[in-house]
Amino acid sequence: MSAAIRRHRRRASPQRQLAYAAAGLITAFMLFPLYLIGVAALQPRTAVFDYPRALYPSPFSIESVAFFLSATGILPALGRSLLIGVMTVVLALALGCPAGYAIARYRFAGRDLVQLLIVSVRAFPILILAIPLAVTFINWNLYDSVLSVALVHTVMALPLTILLAASVFLRIPSELEEAAMSMGTSRFGAVWRIVLPLSRPGLGAAALFAFVLSWNEVFAAAVLTVRNPTLPAQIVGALGQSPLPFRFAGGLALTLPALVFIFFMRPYLFSAFGQARR
């Protein structure tokens, strides 16, 4: 390392510290409320009203959480939410990847229009779509089912999934596919064996967005279900009449699965094949 580079590194280091400090602050700003919810949920029910607030659960208690989980309908709602989230991810990727691939690789007539239409799906407020959707699902005998909510969530997740997938595929040189095809595989085979493995980080991010969108979505879930609500729909419905500890436990239950999902998707988000890190 030359002296000039070393000097440059040293000079860059305070800026870097500043950047780390800023990143830390932003992270704390986002995470601290979640942390407080977690603390409140893991304390005895009476401790919720203490002031000043405890910064860690002391004494530790799963009383609130157990009470929350044992409340009628919570566990089935949690299960439905997970199932709908996974279905949304699978459907959004299964439909979004081919669509994104077409936009990335083919110059077809009306390509720009299609791209615009895809984005414009998000322009329709779900509020306006809710009644027609409910009527349609009743006619199709899908009302109040897991599938109906998953379908609506898929539609909501698709624009972002398609555009993310397209941008991920665009960054993979088409020469790689051509090389694979010249060695005897079809275009589909080239996509399956070369493009998809290389797209895992980007598609992982797309899956993450789809899951979190579905997990957090309340309105469509509340309109399309009556006896079989998702967890957010159930909690929103019960929020008015429930005691404070119940709400904190519900908050924790809403946050945790998404965090766990993010934790498992993490390697796909940040691993980069371009880096010689293996």
Partner: protein, 355 residues
């Protein structure tokens, strides 16, 4: 082992003709170089042979099979890309084995053939590495091994050496030529580097604006270029292009007559374009019979010889002389155009005269 026949093939991209009615036969086992400046259609022609693009018109056969619209994987070709196109998520071994596995070759045979190709290319020590862990030269070798392992009828190469640094390029050039001569596989090699074209090919097809201007052996293309473009594109320095007046079997340049190797098509005196290579001009420091007087404008020592830039009347001519030739800037010299090496490159047309 196969002959490639290309019959009046055309391809346009959004109205621009990339390849315009090209016909070419590449013989079995031949090393054919497609040479031309960027945008001349050489890469498009290669991609049409590979099947990555389909032609608008015309026919391509490999061996005795019409492959005009066959998918790339059914053409029995292997391609080496400029970017190497190695699969970054697969180890070198799996990169080389990819094609064999796609063809359902038995596991033991895959292993032995990959090892054989790797040994041939000297990459057997890297089989467990990922492409990003290799240097540019090693990646190049993997790309070639990946093509060779398929034992294809035709190997297509798209500027395979252009991403290597100069010294490595020189070494790989000789190595590739040696290798491809040994395995005797029909090869189509695209390059914009005229030195590569001259040194490697059995024949060179010089392309411009989607058409093949001349297709002949490298020495033929160098020595008897078909037109002014070929003459100036190939060789360093490019061929001297001067005006002359041709009649029967002589041509007069700046009033000095030189005999042509063969009778011209101009029985009456006609204004023509004349080409002569720098090394075919004898430079005399004394007046000489049949030599045209010139003044030395620039002297460039190039190690093996001196390159002189000379003003002879209205023409600027480059000539090379031995390094011990006594000359300095502003000297008067006499240029003798070596008999038999003067080329007529066609009549001067109205459009050419106005430029």
């Amino acid at each position: 082992m196969a002959e490639i026949t290309i019959e009046s093939i055309s391809k346009s991209f959004s109205g621009v003709k990339a390849v315009d009615n090209v016909s070419l036969t590449i013989h079995d086992g031949e090393f054919m170089v497609l040479l031309g400046p960027s945008g001349c259609g050489k890469t498009t022609l290669l991609r049409l042979i590979a099947g990555f693009d389909l032609p608008d018109a015309g026919r391509i056969s490999i061996g005795d099979r019409d492959v005009t619209v066959s998918p790339p994987g059914r053409r029995d070709i292997a391609m080496v890309f400029q970017s190497y196109a190695l699969f970054p998520h697969l180890r070198v071994f799996d990169n080389v084995a990819f094609g064999l596995r796609m063809h359902h070759v038995a596991r033991e045979e895959v292993t032995s053939r990959v090892r054989e190709a790797a040994e041939l290319m000297g990459i057997d020590a890297f089989l467990n590495r990922y492409p990003t862990q290799l240097s540019g030269g090693q990646r190049q070798r993997v790309a070639v091994a990946r093509a060779l392992v398929m034992r294809p009828s035709v190997i297509l190469m798209d500027e395979p050496l252009s991403n290597l640094d100069a010294l490595l390029r020189l070494q790989m050039r000789a190595e590739l030529k040696h290798l491809l001569q040994d395995i005797k596989t029909t090869t189509v090699y695209v390059t914009h580097d005229q030195v590569e074209a001259l040194s490697m090919g059995d024949r060179t097809a010089v392309m411009r604006d989607g058409a093949i201007l001349q297709c002949a052996s490298p020495m033929e293309v160098y020595d008897r270029p078909g037109d002014v473009f070929v003459a100036t594109f190939i060789g360093n320095p490019p061929m001297n292009i001067v005006r002359g007046v041709a009649r029967d079997s002589t041509v007069a340049v700046e009033g000095v007559e030189v005999r042509l190797p063969e009778a011209s098509n101009f029985p009456a005196a006609a204004e023509v374009t004349v080409g002569i290579r720098a090394e075919n001009i004898e430079v005399h420091s004394e007046p000489h019979h049949g030599a045209l007087p010139a003044t030395v404008a620039v002297i460039e020592p190039l190690g093996s010889h001196l390159l002189l830039t000379l003003a002879a009347g209205a023409e600027t001519i480059k000539a090379s002389v031995r390094t011990d030739f006594p000359v300095k800037r502003g000297d008067s010299v006499w240029l003798e155009l070596r008999e038999g090496s003067v080329r007529l490159l066609g009549a001067v047309t109205e459009s050419a005269r106005s430029t």
